[in-house]
């Protein structure tokens, strides 16, 4: 048996035993919010949306991302191997096309997720570098990029303007009275649309009242109010 037909079998065999049949997701209301049933791709999509809507940088989903990237890689190599098989039937071509389409879809999500994080890292590079706790939310590569980006920017400011100024005005993080701080930080007061994935413990609203979100509830409130719920995966941003 040549390699291509071996892989063809692999393609089908994988289908038989690897992935459990997906649970029913009717999309009617909130049936798809259960953690145990949530498939990796759905999970990534949820974190991608959270990242898109949150003003702050969220913890990197390293394991999830690695799993998906691995899966993309495996699927692509299976597809490219099958493509080289001249005896493939039309049916086979069709499945390859579908698999290829899906790879592109997943790649889009991964790319958008990474780019969203990248843009936040560049916006808040110096703020992130000032806080070791925040650095824990970044992957190693992201942290490296944050450092080099902050350095680059500082050198650029230094070279182009600052070195010509008096010493007292050269700093990049002076507290200036009545002015916003010089280091840009995310605006945690920004309102977000939040959807409760299950019943949540109560949180305090800015006006001092308590709010207890029930599963399925949607609310518009400041990001800082629900930040802790978001980190516990109890809510998602929509």
């Amino acid at each position: 048996m040549d390699t291509s037909s071996l892989n063809q079998i692999d393609f089908i065999a994988k289908a038989r035993n690897a992935s459990p049949s997906p649970p029913p997701r009717d999309g009617f209301l909130f049936t798809d919010l259960d953690d145990a049933q949530e498939l990796p791709l759905q999970k990534l999509i949820r974190h991608w949306m959270n990242e898109r809507h949150a003003p702050d940088i969220l913890p990197i989903q390293a394991e999830l991302l690695a799993g998906i990237l691995d899966h993309i890689h495996k699927q692509s190599s299976t597809v490219s191997l099958l493509r080289t098989d001249p005896d493939a039937s039309e049916d086979e071509h069709f499945r390859i096309m579908l698999a290829q389409t899906e790879i592109e879809r997943v790649k889009f999500v991964v790319r958008s997720y990474v780019r969203t994080r990248l843009s936040k890292i560049e916006d808040y590079a110096r703020w992130i570098l000032a806080d070791p706790l925040l650095q824990g939310r970044l992957s190693e590569t992201e942290l490296k990029h944050a450092k080099s980006y902050a350095n680059l920017l500082a050198t650029h400011f230094e070279e182009s303007v600052l070195k010509a100024l008096p010493g007292a005005q050269q700093s990049l993080d002076d507290p200036v009275p009545f002015m916003p701080p010089m280091i840009t930080a995310p605006d945690k007061m920004r309102p977000v649309f939040v959807l409760a994935r299950r019943d949540c413990p109560s949180v305090y609203l800015p006006d001092g009242t308590k709010m207890e979100m029930r599963k399925g509830q949607i609310s518009l409130t400041q990001y800082r109010v629900i930040e802790s719920l978001l980190f516990q995966d109890l809510v998602e941003l929509v």
Binding site: K14, A15, F30, D32, L41, P191, I218
Partner: protein, 189 residues
């Protein structure tokens, strides 16, 4: 720019459509296909004329090549939508619709209107529902304050539609109310 300016404030409708296309839908395939492993799960086998359950994006793909018929979800029918519309216009709250109904109904109406009974009527009903709901969500602006606004029952596309204005409005109210002498307790920054 890592993320274009246009994508920074909100999600785009095509992105929402991509997310909604992961949801499963019933099809009647016209071709056979073995069970195949995809990244999101394993789907198939397709054996006409038995019904199969696949993600919407596969259904769209097959439909465009005339290789399947889409079985529309139960809520996407004239009776069901008529019922929703009646409830929508007689109750002050939002009636229960799938969270991503707007995206899913658009995709199905666009590519598989021949699989629907009376697609024109469905289109009109969806439009009426949309308008009834829109006026309700706009009424929500009058209740907007700096603290919280409950919007249960709203759907993803509708949230996306009101997002820029509501976020901006609430941010302004927050700034107006912020008391520099007694900074709110919650504020950690």
């Amino acid at each position: 720019m890592a993320l274009p300016q246009s994508l920074r404030t909100s999600v785009t409708p095509p992105e929402l459509e991509l997310i909604a296309s992961e949801q499963l839908i019933d099809i009647v395939p016209l071709v056979t296909m073995e069970k195949t492993a995809f990244i999101s799960g394993a789907y198939g086998p397709l054996r006409p004329p038995a019904k199969a359950r696949v993600p919407l994006w596969i259904a769209v793909n097959l439909k465009l090549k005339r290789k399947c018929h889409i079985v529309p979800p139960e809520w996407l029918s004239v009776e069901s939508l008529q019922d929703k519309l009646t409830r929508e216009t007689s109750n002050p709250g939002f009636s229960e619709l799938p969270f991503r109904f707007a995206e899913i109904s658009k995709v199905i109406l666009d590519i598989a209107s021949d699989d629907l009974e009376n697609p024109d009527k469905i289109r009109t009903l969806l439009k009426d529902i949309r308008e009834a709901r829109q006026s309700k969500s706009r009424e929500g602006i009058s209740k907007l304050d700096h603290s919280e606004l409950g919007l249960s029952g709203l759907c993803s596309m509708e949230i996306n539609e009101i997002r820029p204005f509501f976020i901006k409005g609430m941010s302004v109210l927050t700034k107006l109310i912020r008391d520099p002498e007694h900074p709110p307790k919650l504020d950690e920054t």
